[in-house]
C-alpha cells in the first residue's frame, strides 16, 4: 500500500514549480531577447550579439556606469567601516546604555520609505547649498547602505564564541591586537557579505539617485530609466542582461560566504 505523506498537500508541487517558472520568466525573456537581431524587441528574427557591441560602444552608458561604480565603491567602504564599528560596540560592550535605540537608528533606512528619505536629503542639500553631484550621492548612499552592511556583520559577531577573544586577551594581546588577529579573520565572511550587499544596493538604487540626479551625476539605473522612457530597444535588453549577470555573480558569492560561515559556525 502506498504510504501517504500526511504533511503534503495535493497540488503543492505543481504550484511551486509554476511559481519558480513565473519568478524566472521575466529574467529569461530579457536575456533571450538581448540576442535577437531584430530592432523590434518582441519580434524574433535571428541570433546576434550586435546589441552588446552597441551597448559597450555607448559613451553615455559607460559614463553612467563609471559614476555608479565610484559612488558604490566609496559608499560601500564608508558604510562598512561605520557598520563594523557600530556592530562591535553593540555586540561586545556590556551594560551599554541606548543599545536598543542605537540599533534602531542604524537600521532606520531599512524601516522608512526610501522616497521620503530621498526627498529629505534633497531638501537638506539644497538648503546647505551642496552642489557637488557625486558627493550628494555618496552621502545619501552611505546612509541607506549602512544597515545592509551592519546586519550580516552583527550576525557574525553574535554567532562567534567569545572564548577566542578571551584566550587572546589572556595571552596579553591588546584589545586592538586581539581584534586584528582573532576577531577580524573570524568575522571576515560576514564583513564581505555585508560589504557586497551594500555595494549591490548602491549600484541598484533608483529612487534616491533619480531625485538627486544633477550636475553630471547620472547613475546607471537612472540612465537606464531614461532609455526605457524612450521605448524598449534590444540594446536595453543587452544592458539589462549584463547587469543581471553581474548581480547573479555577486549573489552567488554572498551565498557561498554565508554557507561557509554557517558550516564553520
Amino acid at each position: 500500500m502506498k504510504q501517504h505523506n500526511i504533511r503534503s498537500y495535493p497540488g503543492l508541487r505543481p504550484f511551486s514549480i509554476l511559481f519558480f517558472l513565473w519568478l524566472y520568466l521575466p529574467i529569461a525573456v530579457v536575456v533571450i531577447y538581448s540576442f535577437n537581431d531584430n530592432r523590434l524587441v518582441s519580434v524574433w528574427t535571428e541570433f546576434s550579439t550586435k546589441w552588446y557591441a552597441t551597448a559597450l560602444d555607448n559613451a553615455a552608458l559607460m559614463g553612467a556606469l563609471e559614476i555608479s561604480l565610484k559612488v558604490a565603491v566609496i559608499s560601500t567602504v564608508c558604510a562598512t567601516l561605520i557598520a563594523l564599528l557600530a556592530a562591535i560596540v553593540l555586540t561586545r560592550a556590556t551594560d551599554l546604555k541606548f543599545r536598543r535605540v542605537s540599533e534602531t537608528v542604524v537600521n532606520l533606512p531599512l524601516i522608512l520609505p526610501e522616497i521620503v528619505l530621498a526627498v529629505a536629503v534633497l531638501i537638506l542639500f539644497s538648503q546647505i547649498g551642496l552642489t557637488n553631484g557625486l558627493l550628494k550621492l555618496v552621502l545619501a548612499h552611505t546612509a541607506f547602505c549602512t544597515p545592509f552592511a551592519f546586519l550580516p556583520i552583527r550576525a557574525r559577531l553574535q554567532g562567534m564564541s567569545l572564548d577566542f577573544e578571551e584566550a587572546a586577551r589572556d595571552l596579553y594581546a591588546s584589545p586592538f591586537t586581539a581584534f586584528r588577529l582573532v576577531t577580524l579573520p573570524m568575522i571576515m565572511p560576514g564583513l564581505f557579505a555585508g560589504a557586497m550587499t551594500a555595494f549591490v544596493m548602491s549600484m541598484d538604487d533608483f529612487i534616491t539617485s533619480n531625485l538627486l540626479n544633477s550636475g553630471g551625476a547620472t547613475t546607471l539605473p537612472v540612465y537606464i530609466f531614461s532609455l526605457i522612457r524612450q521605448g524598449t530597444t534590444p540594446e536595453l535588453n543587452a544592458i539589462s542582461t549584463l547587469l543581471i549577470a553581474a548581480s547573479l555573480i555577486m549573489a552567488t558569492l554572498v551565498l557561498i560566504l554565508n554557507v561557509r560561515a554557517m558550516r564553520r559556525g
Binding site: 521575466p26 562591535i88 560596540v89 542605537s102 533606512p109 520609505p113 526610501e114 543581471i244
Partner: protein, 291 residues
C-alpha cells in the same frame, strides 16, 4: 572594552543617521508647513495650506471645496499595496511550505532561487515586465498564438502595477514565512491526523496558527515598501495611476511644489510608522500572553 571606544565606536553611525536622516526628516516636516515659492522652492512660514490641499481645492470665490483627487491617490496606494501584500501572501505560503518539506540540500538551493531575482536591479526587473505586458509584447503574442482574440492593453493597468509590485517584493514574504513553517514540528501534524483531523483541518488548526508570525512579518516587509513604491506606477502604470510615491516624486520634479510634496511625504511617513507601531504593540501583547 574601554569606555572611550564604547562611545566613539557608535559616533560615526549616529552622526551619519542624524545628519542624513533625522535632521532632513525634521526639515521635511518644516517644509510641509512652509509657503510655496513663486518659482519652485519655498519660503519658511507656518502655513497648513499644503495639508489643506490634500482634502480641499480652492474655488473661484476662495471657498473650500472637498476635492477627492488626492484622497483617491492615498486610497489607491493603500488598496494596491494591500492587494499586492495579499497576493504575495497567498503565493508565498504554499511555496514556503513546499520548500520546508525538501531535503536540506534542496532547501538551500530553492531558498537561493527565491532570493536570486531580488539581487537583480529593480529597474531591470520592472523593465522585464514592460516587455512581457507591453503593446505587441510577449503576453499578447502568446495569447494570439493559442487562438485568443486580438486583445491589447495589459500594460498601464492596476493589474500590471500589482504584478510588478508582487514580483519585486515577494522574496521578502517567502523568507519569513519559510522561517516559521520550517520550525513546525511534524509530530503536531501527525497528532492532528491521529485525532481524525484531515489535511485541511491540519492546515487550519495547526499550520496556519504556527505560521502566523511569519505571515505577519512578511506582510509588513512587503506592505511598507509597496506604500512608497515609485518605479511600478511610473513604468507599468504609465503615470496615469498615481500612487503616493510617484505623487511625491512629481512635486519635486516637474510640478515643483515642494511644500505639497513634503506634506504628502509626511502623510506617507505617518502611515508607515503607524503600521510599524501597530505591529510592535501586537507583538508585545502576544509575547505577554505567552509568558
Amino acid at each position: 572594552m574601554s569606555k572611550s571606544f564604547r562611545f566613539w565606536g557608535l559616533v560615526p553611525a549616529w552622526a551619519l543617521m542624524i545628519l542624513t536622516l533625522i535632521i532632513p526628516i525634521l526639515i521635511v516636516a518644516g517644509v510641509s508647513v512652509a509657503e510655496r515659492g513663486a518659482y519652485g522652492g519655498f519660503t519658511w512660514s507656518f502655513d497648513l495650506s499644503s495639508y489643506q490641499q490634500i482634502l480641499y481645492s480652492v474655488g473661484w470665490t476662495d471657498e473650500l471645496e472637498f476635492d477627492p483627487k488626492y484622497v483617491a491617490i492615498i486610497g489607491r496606494t493603500l488598496l494596491f499595496a494591500g492587494g499586492a501584500t495579499l497576493i504575495s501572501l497567498l503565493l508565498a505560503l504554499p511555496v514556503a511550505y513546499y520548500i520546508s518539506q525538501q531535503s536540506a540540500r534542496l532547501k538551500i538551493i530553492l531558498l537561493y532561487l527565491v532570493t536570486l531575482p531580488f539581487w537583480v536591479s529593480m529597474i531591470v526587473r520592472v523593465y522585464a515586465w514592460l516587455i512581457i505586458l507591453g503593446n505587441d509584447g510577449l503576453l499578447e503574442r502568446v495569447y494570439r498564438m493559442f487562438g485568443g482574440a486580438d486583445i491589447s492593453g495589459f500594460l498601464f493597468t492596476p493589474g500590471a502595477m500589482i504584478t510588478g509590485m508582487v514580483y519585486s517584493y515577494i522574496p521578502l514574504m517567502i523568507l519569513p514565512v519559510y522561517a516559521s513553517v520550517e520550525k513546525i514540528d511534524p509530530a503536531l501534524i501527525e497528532a492532528s491526523h491521529d485525532l481524525y483531523g484531515g489535511r485541511w483541518t491540519a492546515l487550519k488548526r495547526v499550520i496556519l496558527p504556527l505560521a502566523a508570525p511569519g505571515l505577519t512579518a512578511g506582510s509588513i516587509l512587503v506592505f511598507v515598501p509597496c506604500l512608497g513604491t515609485v518605479l511600478e506606477p511610473m513604468l507599468l502604470g504609465g503615470g496615469k495611476q498615481l500612487m503616493m510615491g510617484t505623487l511625491i516624486q512629481t512635486q519635486f520634479g516637474g510640478a515643483r511644489n515642494w511644500p505639497f510634496g513634503a506634506a504628502i511625504a509626511m502623510v506617507l511617513l505617518v502611515l508607515v510608522v503607524l503600521v510599524l507601531l501597530l505591529n510592535a504593540r501586537r507583538a508585545r501583547s502576544q509575547m505577554e500572553a505567552a509568558l
